[in-house]
């Protein structure tokens, strides 16, 4: 069961003189739920963007289910069955919630099944009240939820979420945690997040990024208790 579905080897990303990601070796097992944390500028988001093809890594390798995807286009990676949520909600503002989710499902299912799939997702994420609304008119929390619906619609085996709880009310966050736990039953999930409260309530294993490299990788309670991690977050010299 526990085969590795995502692996990076020596993943490096440089922007001019800045090394945002420095030879990162990372492994994720099937149906694992993993959080990436770290202070601002630690390289979490860059790492995330290298995984999703939004950035081309300077060197190193990304392997998904054993297949090298290092220089692939975003749509090719997504087509493998990888659900991606970006930091700023990326949704289709001009069309309805249902259309958003249908379009995501249509990539992986024929039209009729996509209809059923969209209805199912709308039910599961309790989006029924707003299913016909234009996404551009929705509140931030609702848009975040719609984007999760888009991610879930393709039945992904790997889910990458960049700051899913950003700017949401505690009620929304709780609902979001429920959705993420449900996703994690079928897929491996990586969450990039700042909110410690949130991480405590979802995560089992946490990877800490610092200055472009992995500082430590352990169970959430141990990471939280760790002196070095605390220092890094408070900006002291580690």
């Amino acid at each position: 069961m526990a085969e590795t579905v995502l692996e990076t080897m020596g993943l490096t990303m440089r922007f001019g003189g800045v090394t945002a990601c420095d030879a990162v070796n990372f492994k994720l097992k099937a149906r694992e739920l993993r959080c990436l944390i770290g202070p601002n500028g630690a390289g979490k988001s860059t790492f995330f963007k290298c995984l999703t093809g939004l950035l081309r890594p300077t060197s190193g390798h990304v392997l998904m289910q054993g297949e090298e995807t290092t220089d692939w286009q975003t749509h090719e990676i997504a087509s493998l069955g990888v659900g991606i949520k970006t930091q700023v909600p990326s949704v289709l503002d001009g069309v309805s919630v249902r259309e958003n989710i249908w379009l995501a499902a249509r990539r992986f299912f024929p039209t009729k099944e996509a209809n059923d799939k969209a209805a199912d997702i709308i039910d599961r994420l309790s989006l029924n009240d707003i299913a016909k609304s234009e996404v551009g008119r929705l509140a931030h929390g609702e848009r975040q939820r719609v984007e999760l619906g888009i991610v879930a619609a393709g039945d992904p085996w790997l889910v990458l979420l960049d700051e899913p709880a950003a700017g949401m009310t505690s009620e929304d966050v709780e609902r979001m945690i429920g959705i993420i736990h449900e996703m994690a039953r079928r897929a491996a999930v990586i969450i990039v997040e700042h909110d410690m409260q949130f991480i405590r309530s979802v995560a089992t294993t946490v990877t800490v990024f610092h200055q472009g490299a992995i500082l430590m990788e352990d169970h959430v309670e141990k990471v939280m208790a760790d002196e070095t991690v605390r220092n890094v977050y408070l900006g002291k010299k580690a």
Partner: protein, 343 residues
């Protein structure tokens, strides 16, 4: 659901037929035919710009190319069926190649506009400079700024002596316009069309969903080119001459104005915008008091300032505010306001 859509189809066809029969009562078909052709041309840009988010400043390039391809191949081949098909196919292939270069090269919107505009101007310059006898394709001389006259015009397929001109060209053009409109409608309701709209809304999200936006935009661009080419071929048949003016800056700008005035992102808007402004231009052409370009510019400015969404959306808004959904809309707004004041 099914019955409903068939019912709608029958009603729209009936309306189209009535309009087709009524229009010639008020106007000369020689005036009407080019208006329909402009409508077709407007629809081609309305499709790729309004639904695909591709602002092409060079739709006239495909229009002119369609006209020239028709004229050149009609001189060489004679019977008009195959030249008509070529006049659709070649602009489509050309658009596909141009589109592939731009979309696979990941060019931004501004560069896309510049390149399409420059391509149009290259055609314009080139065609203007082909007056010499060395510019010959088969037996067709390109003729420079004088253009190409005297080619075989549209005939009944298979019967080269049965010409379609005058009133019958009007009816044929009208039927083609309705047919293409129906096809475009179907395309927009198909998954391909819905995905095109997704790309227009948010390219990044569309590719995160797993769609290859480069291939899809190229395909849509080629479809737009095909429709513009068809319009060009029909125009050649109506004018019975093709000139480099088809590629001119004025021509290409006008298509954009039609779309803005008619209503971008609507299916009927660009057609009505094109026909309406085309007719206005015709009327203005009969007097010498006001310059055409000034009036066109004024109309564009006024629309951008006061009706930025264009005519069709404005009519829809007025309709829904005055009669359509009065009862349903008001409480929704009140609810929203209450929610705001509570929060």
């Amino acid at each position: 659901m099914r019955d409903f859509s068939i019912q709608r189809l029958v009603i729209s066809l009936a309306i189209a037929a009535v309009v087709m029969l009524l229009l010639p009562l008020g106007m000369n078909t020689f005036v009407l035919t080019p208006l329909l052709i402009y409508g077709l041309l407007g629809m081609s840009l309305g499709l790729i710009w309004g639904f695909g988010g591709i602002l092409c400043f060079g739709q006239a390039a495909f229009f002119g190319l369609g006209a020239y391809v028709y004229a050149i191949s009609a001189i060489n081949i004679g019977e008009s069926t195959f030249p008509m098909l070529l006049a659709i196919l070649i602009p489509a292939v050309f658009a596909a190649i141009l589109g592939a270069m731009m979309f696979y090269g990941r060019l931004g919107d501004v560069y896309l506009g510049v390149i399409t505009l420059v391509v149009t101007l290259i055609f314009f310059k080139f065609m203007n400079s082909t007056a010499g006898p060395e510019y010959v394709i088969g037996t067709a001389r390109l003729g420079g700024f004088n253009g190409i006259p005297g080619f075989q015009t549209l005939n009944v397929p298979g019967m080269a002596d049965e010409y379609i001109y005058g009133d019958s060209l009007y009816y044929v053009t009208f039927v083609i316009l309705v047919l293409v409109y129906w096809l475009v409608n179907g395309l927009l309701q198909s998954p391909f069309g819905r995905i095109a709209i997704a790309i227009r809304e948010n390219e990044q999200r569309a590719s995160l969903m797993g769609y290859d936006i480069r291939a899809r935009k190229t395909t849509l661009f080629a479809i737009g080119g095909a429709i513009a080419g068809l319009a060009g071929a029909l125009y050649a048949n109506w004018a019975e001459i093709v000139t480099p003016g088809l590629f001119s800056l004025g021509q290409t700008a006008e298509i954009i104005i039609w779309c803005i005035v008619g209503g971008l992102g609507t299916r009927l808007g660009p057609i009505l915008g094109a026909a309406g402004l085309g007719y206005l231009k015709f009327l203005l052409g009969q007097q010498a008091f006001l310059d055409n370009a000034i009036v066109m510019g004024l109309i564009l400015v006024l629309f951008v300032l006061f009706l930025p969404k264009g005519l069709i959306p404005a009519i829809e808004d007025i309709w829904s505010l005055s009669v359509g959904k009065r009862r349903r809309r008001r409480p929704a707004r009140r609810r929203k306001r209450r929610a705001l004041s509570n929060g």
